[in-house]
Amino acid sequence: MMPELISPALIMVAAALVIGPARGYLRTAVVLLAPLLTLWAVWQVPDGVQDSVRFLSYQIEPVEGSPLRRLFATIFALMAFVGGLYSFRLARWQELAAAYFYAAGAIGVSFAGDLISLFVYWELMALFSTVVVWSGGTPAARAAGIRYAILHLLGGVVLKVGIEGVVVSTGSIQITPMLAQDFSSWMILCGILINAAAPPLSAWLADAYPESSPTGSVFLSAFTTKTAVLALILLFPGEPVLIGVGLFMVIYGIIYALLENDIRRILAYSVVNQVGFMVCAVGIGTQLALNGAAAHAFAHIIYKALLFMSAGVVIYRTGKNRCSELGGLFRTMPITTICCIIGALSISSFPLTSGFTTKSLISQAAANEGLVWVYMLLTAASAGVFLHAGIKFPWFVFFQKDSGLRPRDAPWNMALAMIIFSALCLLLGIFPEWLYRFLPYPVDYVAYTPGKVLFYLQLLLFSGLAFFLLLPLMKRTETISLDVDWLWRRGAPAVAAWLGRLLEPIRDLGASLGSASQNLLRFLTARYLGQPHTADREERAVFARSWPIGTTALWIAILLSAYVLIYYI
């Protein structure tokens, strides 16, 4: 195979294959070095399609470089490295190998030059992310993993239907910008949006991620939704439907996170909220907006993984995952607390953090296009993010009441992983031009103007005031909140049971008909075949009797003569 055809993703695939057989230090070396090697390979990919190979009657282009694709592949590889560092001492090798296959899928999608390659890597992600969910190891993780797999395989089928449709109608498998105008393009859009956790099928994310292991959820938070954002940027820039979808996700994420008690589920809902910002930006579709979507995805992976890491450390050290059971952990977990607060400030787009320098690109794009409602809702959502993730999460985990828990702080490798990502959150916030330089379009935007900073400080600090004044309303309860997944977890089984009851008379009728026909058959067999177990000749029925051999020979002769006669006639 030509070297140009080798996607950097294959390095991660090779690493994933080796992780199992390798032992001890060798495994650690593979886990830590493979993502760095991949990162190097990502930057060796020049712009444009590298080479193509003929498969059936299509030109497959496994590697296509562009600034946007390299940006996403970079953060995926970086995520795999820091995630590997965070996990390698705690996670089982099966989970690590699955996570590396999963990362390989994400990097493969980043460079996929055609729809078929994209689909193959897309499904690789679906399969191995399911394994990562299953690695939670609990019955709940198994059940959630099955629901997750069903939904993602369904999403894959929808995407495939769309790809086939586009290929049949245009004859091309090229990845080119399109709008959702016909059945095929709608199917592609829906297939991608399922992975982006867009409504109505967003419940899989908050259902599955919190059931995975403390290390697994770090990987899960990074890849699936962000590859969906990349696919949207590549295929549907400026698709107006996405603005509405994104705004819905933004608000939905906040409301559900406010209701939630499970610490990782709060974070899972805030993934939906943040991806909503990106989806909305892709919908706006200007160069500034697409830059914003890409930059925000980059920053988001870092601070969201950081938040999941701090939650993972808490769960690993205390074995508890509910706000109502936690609190006061700042006393013995200073590193985790500080890293968590940095992540929380970043997600809230606080000035001097990465969230501020990337999310404000999206708001600015909305303002430039004169989209007053979009701008106002995104601003309201920024306030809401501070409320549910920026303050609520650290407050309930590390402060609020004293839960009496005195766990030790993070193990060194987990602490190091959190510190690396905390540093990146701050660096990208203080030196935004480091990231702006690598965005797909030239950036003519100044993140820090006194007016902008003051506006955000007012917005966020008064959201903080609202949080503490409304604290009595936010007392955590031992509850979950119903989501769309109620439809298939409770609704569908209830409908099935109801239908079962409705069909009971028919089933009874069937049963009585069955027993009647059985009785008839029994009567007929007794009548004609007799009772084989009875030795007495007289008691046997007509077909069960023994006949003399002469009679049989006579009958055969008669039948043969009849046959000969009929043949001549």
Partner: protein
């Protein structure tokens, strides 16, 4: 809200009172700063004096109340889905 027995400085009522004072001063300053710092409004209203503060506060109030109301409909006990698995 806090535990007074373990004596960590952050949990003492006096420190909490000080924190509230500090925080309130900070809030007041961010609003007053708009007297000297020009905040560009893209849609007129967002350039008004103290708009960010009021908008942020009211939005959070609305979202918390909306979530609370929705909670009455959507909230179930934590073992809501588990019960069914036990039955099965």
């Amino acid at each position: 809200m806090t535990d007074r027995e373990d004596g960590h400085w952050l949990t003492r009522p006096t420190s909490i009172r000080k924190l509230w004072w500090g925080f309130s001063t900070l809030l007041a300053l961010t609003v007053l700063a708009q007297l000297v710092v020009y905040v560009k409004g893209y849609f007129t209203v967002d350039g008004w004096f103290g708009f960010g503060a009021i908008y942020g506060f009211l939005c959070c109030l609305a979202m918390v109340l909306f979530a609370k109301a929705l909670g009455f409909i959507l909230k179930r006990r934590s073992d809501y889905y588990l019960e069914r698995d036990d039955d099965a």
